[in-house]
Structure formats: structure tokens, C-alpha cells
Amino acid sequence: MRSTQLSPLTSPISTSDRDLIAEIAQVLIPAGASGPSAAEVDVAGGRLDEFFEQRPDLKTAFVAIASRASGTDVDSFCRHLEASEPAVFQQLTYVIVGAFLLSPDARGWLGFTGLRGEFQTPIANDDYRLHELLAPVRSRPPSYRPTAWTPEESTA
């Protein structure tokens, strides 16, 4: 049988890790702005669990990164990580922002009701607004070089 390379982690996040994650999340998404903070939408609680239901593959690495903040000034840790290890910082922020955006309150603040499927009513070929916009383009000569074009033509 082929080996399956993904190995989802199902063990729960410890209380101490969750507390640390809550601190990190609150630094990255603080209170006092126009929208809800991380704590206000429970990023480190239910939202995180919801996130990892979809992305169990990210759990181990995320917890490992977050645990590096233990015993540090979390604000300084985040800013230093962003400056010194941007790829690792992105792993951290992807989970925290992803969990934040699963919150109905956060989505409501943004006015985001979910991505729409891409079906779009096509423009009619005789749509006058489109053709009005296109008129200046159509008034110009062709811009392509035909197959038989020669460099001499550019200086002619």
C-alpha cells in the first residue's frame, strides 16, 4: 500500500497552551479597534477547535510555535517572530486569523456573508455600456505582430 503522508493530530490542546494562544491572539487582534478582538470571539476556545476540525494537519506545528512564547513577553515575541521568521509567523497568523474569521461576529463586522459561487449572468454581446467603454479601444489599430512580421517593420 502507498504510504499516507498526512498524520492528523487528534490530541486536545492543553489548558496552558490554550491560555498562551489566547494571549498571542489578543496581541495580534487586539481590543479597542473598530471590530471585535480575539478574546471577544473566543479565538483560543471554540473557534480554534472549529478551525482544527478542518485543518488537523496544522495543529502540531501551530502549538509548537505558540509554545515558544511561554515565559516571554508575548507582544515582543510576536513582533520579533514577524521580523525574524516571517514564514513561521505566517503559520501562526494563518491559524489565528482563520479561527477569528469563523466567528459570526467577526464576519458580521466585516459584512462578509461567505464567498459566492462564481456563476455570473453573462453580459449580452450587444450590451451598450460595454461597447461604449470599448469604443476607444476599437478605434485603435491592431496591436499584434502578424506571423510574417519582420523587425524592419518596426523601423519603417
Binding site: L130, S143, Y144, P146, T147, W149
Partner: protein, 524 residues
């Protein structure tokens, strides 16, 4: 050769494999396609679900090194400016593409004659034009004929998609600048009946939807989870393939012809894996060019932030408008060739915190800036994506990895790719012009990513076609010079890359090659 051989084995069920299987099966040939992946399971991450942005990053992950599905093989890209992206399964990368559909221009096939660099193709725009038209019919493309960047002629069968509020805004700005644009051509179905009846997967023209049902109905057989490990050759003829099934068993399948459609990395990988005493440097490699001349389309992106909602928080399929204004060479710019611009939405809120072009501007994204930055980007940020032509060089290449293996123990691929000075100058010019256009349209800020690393969708050039066996791997129809019943119908054969999304040309090329294959078949 055993009697149970089929007429054709096709390796890979992606864009080229599907188009080819459909043509050959409809013509009455016995066809078996071997695909290392499986059918896409769209229900695993549908766009309308609340967690779609999160879930999509796993199942629909574009980088096989991150996704690490059993269908993937590892690619060592540590020596490359650009990471190679693909989706291995039925439909191939057309399952994940953003459905931008652009023909190449006549000059794209005449790079040496027109600009004195690289090589001319052994075929022309005029050769491919009828196949472009047929591909546009088969994929039900939406678009509008008459773009002055192309010769006159018929265009896609369906009208263009709406250009949306931000498309209209940009079109007006380009008009004021005196720059050309055109409604974008897109491989998204315009038929609401199809969308509602068949589910969200039917919105986009990927070949699992557009071609495989027809091919299977015509009698083609598709074996999924079947990874080809070697093309078999005897007395200078391909006799079939060895593949590993989902249980890990090695199977042998015999055929009168073998057609590789495994993409610009998978195909040279397989040719190199198929080395024998007779072909010690890999199959069909007497020119030494298998794996060389890798082209990846260096890719730039420029987003503009506007003060008002512009409906950009939608899934980024298709393109609202496109511009080829700076596409043709102008020597005064200091580089040759050009890039197509495609204007697209930037997607949901998680998308605008990461990926391109935002990564280059994220130093202001978090902490005290988080809410206002997210608000400024969300639904207010159209983006130009710039597909830049890169020129073929032998040192940009695919080889077998010495260190990485796939789930079946076969060597992975290694890519080496450096965007050269011409590519970098080209991208600098185009990103500056794209930013200028956004400012002209009223953007209060632009975010520019001049060379996006995670952008190597377009895998081209690694088994180049040509008339001379000394400096090409296949002839103009994709038949290898060294093994006459071994064919390559995928983008490995591209001579140069053009500066547009390649799906239209690759679909047309698969039709061109299939048509010739059938003519030869019946002429025997």
C-alpha cells in the same frame, strides 16, 4: 508484443490527457488512461460553506509539497525562484486553475524571427487557430471576439462575464491613459441551469467535467490511483507501461502507442525514470534536452486599495478585463517580450491576509493595525495578475531527485529555475505600469509583488518540439524523434512560453496533436 494490447495508453488524466482521450475514443480507438490520482471530491470544500477558505487550503492546496497527498510526488524546489504547483488527479490542474483563457498571439510562435531570442515554433498561430476555436467550443468559453491584440476571427461561443464594478472602474482609467483593454475570456460556464443542476463543481470548465464524461461514454477507460513508473520499450518501439496500482502491485499494460500527458515536470520525470541500457540518459533523450528549458511564467501581482466597496470579495475565477497593451516587444523598454494583465477579485477575508500580493505588505497587518488593514483590503481590492513570458534556457531544468521519493518509492523531481535579467526587467516595468493604472483609477494605495514564489502553475518546455532531432525531443505534432510510437501531448513540448495563461494553447495543441495522430493512424 502481446495480443491484448490497446491502441493507446495515455499517461495523465489532466487537461491534455482528457482532451486526447476524448478525441481518440470518439474515433473508435481503444484507450486506457493511467492517472496517479483520483477524481476530485468537490464536497470536501465547497465555496459556499462557512469554513471554505480554511478547508480549501488543504484539499485544494496548490503546492504538492504541502498537500502531500498519496497522488503527489515530492518536488525539490530549493534551487528554484518559483515553486512548482499542480493538482494530481482526474482533471489535473484544470481542477484548481482560475479559469483564465487566453490564446497566444502570432508573435508568440515567432520569438526568434521577431525578437532575435529563443526559437520559433515549428507551427504558427494560423495552424492552431481552428483548434483554438474547437477548444473554446469544447470548454464553453466566455469572451468576446475582436480584441485588437489578436488577428480578426471568430471568438468564444459565449458572451463575456460581467466586468463588475471594479472592471468598469479600471476600464475607464485605461481609456483615460490611452491603454488598451478587453473583456476577459474565462472558462466559467455561463449557463445557470448547469450550475444549479449539477452542483458547484460545474461552474468552471475543468476537464473532469467538460471532457471525461464524454470520453468515458465513448469507451475510454480511466484507471485512477495508477502511477506509471516506466514506459516500456523494445526494439526501438514503446510497448506499454508499468504502473503501480493502489494496492502497491506492479501492473503491466501493453499498447500500440503511448501518449504522455503528465505535465512539464511529470513527463520528463517519467522519461528519465524510463532509462534503460539502450537509453541510458532517459527515453527520447538523444538530444539531451529532456528536462531542460523549463519555463514557469514568472508572475507578478499588483492590488489597489480603494475607498469604496468594489465587490472584490468573490471567488477569483475568470478575469473581468484583460490588457495586452504592453504585450508586444518595445526595444526602448530594455527587455524583450511582454506580459498579459488579468484583472480579478481578491477573494474572502482570509485570502487578503496572506498569499500574493499581500505578503509583501504584511508588516502593517497585525496588532494595532489589524482591523483597519483588513477593512481596507476586504471587498475593496481588485488585483492585476501579470503573466510574464520567460525565455528558455538549458540551466532551468527538471531532473530526478537524489533524496526525495514518492509514496511508491520512486524518485521525486528536482527543479532548478532562475528568473533571468530579462524576466526581472519585464516584471519591474509591468508591475510599475499596473500600479500606475490602479492609481489612475482612484486607488489610495497599491501593493506590488514583483515576483511571486508560489506561482509555478505553468510547467512548460521540458521536452521541446522541433523539426531537427538534434535540438528537439518531439516533432511538431508531439511524436518523439527517438521512439516513433511514443508521443508527448502536454506542455512539455512548448518551444517558448508566451506571456498568457497557457490552458487555451495547451488545449488547442492537444487537439492539433490528436488530429494528426488519428490521420496517421488511419493512413497506416
Amino acid at each position: 508484443m502481446p495480443d491484448d494490447k490497446v491502441d493507446a495508453i495515455i499517461v495523465g488524466a489532466g487537461l491534455s490527457g482528457a482532451v486526447t482521450a476524448n478525441e481518440l475514443a470518439k474515433a473508435g480507438l481503444t484507450v486506457i488512461c493511467l492517472e496517479q490520482g483520483d477524481w476530485p471530491e468537490y464536497g470536501r470544500s465547497a465555496v459556499h460553506r462557512r469554513d471554505s477558505e480554511v478547508a480549501a487550503e488543504q484539499y485544494w492546496q496548490r503546492d504538492p509539497n504541502v498537500r502531500q497527498d498519496t497522488s503527489d510526488y515530492p518536488i525539490d524546489d530549493s534551487g528554484s525562484d518559483v515553486a512548482a504547483l499542480m493538482w494530481n488527479g482526474v482533471g489535473g490542474s484544470s481542477v484548481l486553475y482560475l479559469a483564465k483563457w487566453n490564446r497566444m498571439t502570432p508573435s508568440d510562435f515567432r520569438v526568434r524571427s521577431h525578437d532575435g531570442v529563443a526559437d520559433d515554433w515549428p507551427l504558427s498561430y494560423e495552424d492552431l487557430e481552428p483548434h483554438y476555436l474547437e477548444a473554446e467550443r469544447q470548454f464553453q468559453i466566455s469572451g468576446l471576439a475582436g480584441d485588437p491584440a489578436y488577428p480578426e476571427g471568430d471568438g468564444p461561443p459565449n458572451p463575456p462575464l460581467p466586468i463588475r464594478a471594479f472592471g468598469a472602474r479600471m476600464a475607464k482609467a485605461l481609456n483615460e491613459l490611452g491603454w488598451s483593454w478587453w473583456p476577459g475570456a474565462s472558462a466559467t460556464f455561463p449557463d445557470p441551469e448547469r450550475s444549479t443542476k449539477e452542483g458547484p463543481e460545474s461552474i468552471k470548465a475543468s476537464t473532469d467535467v467538460t471532457h471525461w464524461p464524454s470520453a468515458l461514454n465513448a469507451g475510454a477507460e480511466l484507471r485512477t490511483n495508477a502511477r506509471v513508473r516506466r514506459v516500456l520499450v523494445e526494439n526501438g518501439e514503446a510497448t506499454g507501461c508499468e504502473y503501480i496500482d493502489s494496492d502497491g502491485n506492479v501492473q503491466t499494460l501493453h499498447a500500440r502507442s503511448v501518449i504522455l500527458c503528465a505535465n512539464g515536470i511529470g513527463t520528463p520525470r517519467l522519461l528519465l525514470l524510463s532509462a534503460t541500457d539502450e537509453y541510458p540518459d532517459g527515453l527520447a533523450n538523444s538530444s539531451g534536452l529532456v528536462g531542460k528549458r523549463l519555463m514557469l511564467h514568472p508572475f507578478g501581482a499588483v492590488a489597489g486599495l480603494f475607498d469604496d466597496d468594489l465587490d472584490t470579495a468573490v471567488s477569483p475565477l475568470g478575469q473581468q478585463i484583460q490588457s495586452m497593451h504592453f504585450y508586444e516587444t518595445d526595444a526602448s523598454r530594455g527587455f524583450v517580450r511582454g506580459a498579459k494583465w488579468g484583472l480579478q477579485p481578491t477573494g474572502g477575508p482570509l485570502a487578503v491576509t496572506r498569499s500574493y500580493p499581500w505578503e509583501v505588505a504584511n508588516e502593517v497587518m497585525y496588532c494595532e493595525n489589524f482591523h483597519e488593514t483588513l477593512k481596507a483590503r476586504f471587498n475593496r481590492a481588485p488585483m492585476w495578475t501579470l503573466v510574464a513570458e520567460d525565455l528558455p534556457v538549458d540551466t532551468n531544468r527538471v531532473t530526478l531527485s537524489d533524496t526525495l521519493v514518492d509514496g511508491d518509492g520512486l524518485p521525486g523531481a528536482k527543479i532548478e529555475y532562475v528568473a533571468d535579467a530579462n524576466s526581472r526587467a519585464l516584471l519591474k516595468f509591468h508591475t510599475e505600469k499596473a500600479a500606475e493604472s490602479l492609481i489612475a483609477a482612484g486607488a489610495v494605495e497599491t501593493v506590488v509583488a514583483p515576483l511571486v514564489r508560489s506561482s509555478g502553475w505553468h510547467l512548460m518546455g521540458t521536452a521541446v518540439m522541433g523539426d531537427d532531432p538534434a535540438n528537439s525531443v518531439t516533432d511538431r505534432y508531439g511524436t518523439t524523434h527517438d521512439v516513433k510510437n511514443l508521443h508527448i501531448f502536454d506542455s512539455s513540448t512548448w518551444v517558448t512560453s508566451g506571456g498568457v495563461n497557457p490552458v487555451a494553447t495547451q488545449a488547442a495543441l492537444a487537439l492539433w496533436s490528436s488530429t494528426h495522430f488519428l490521420e496517421e493512424w488511419y493512413a497506416r
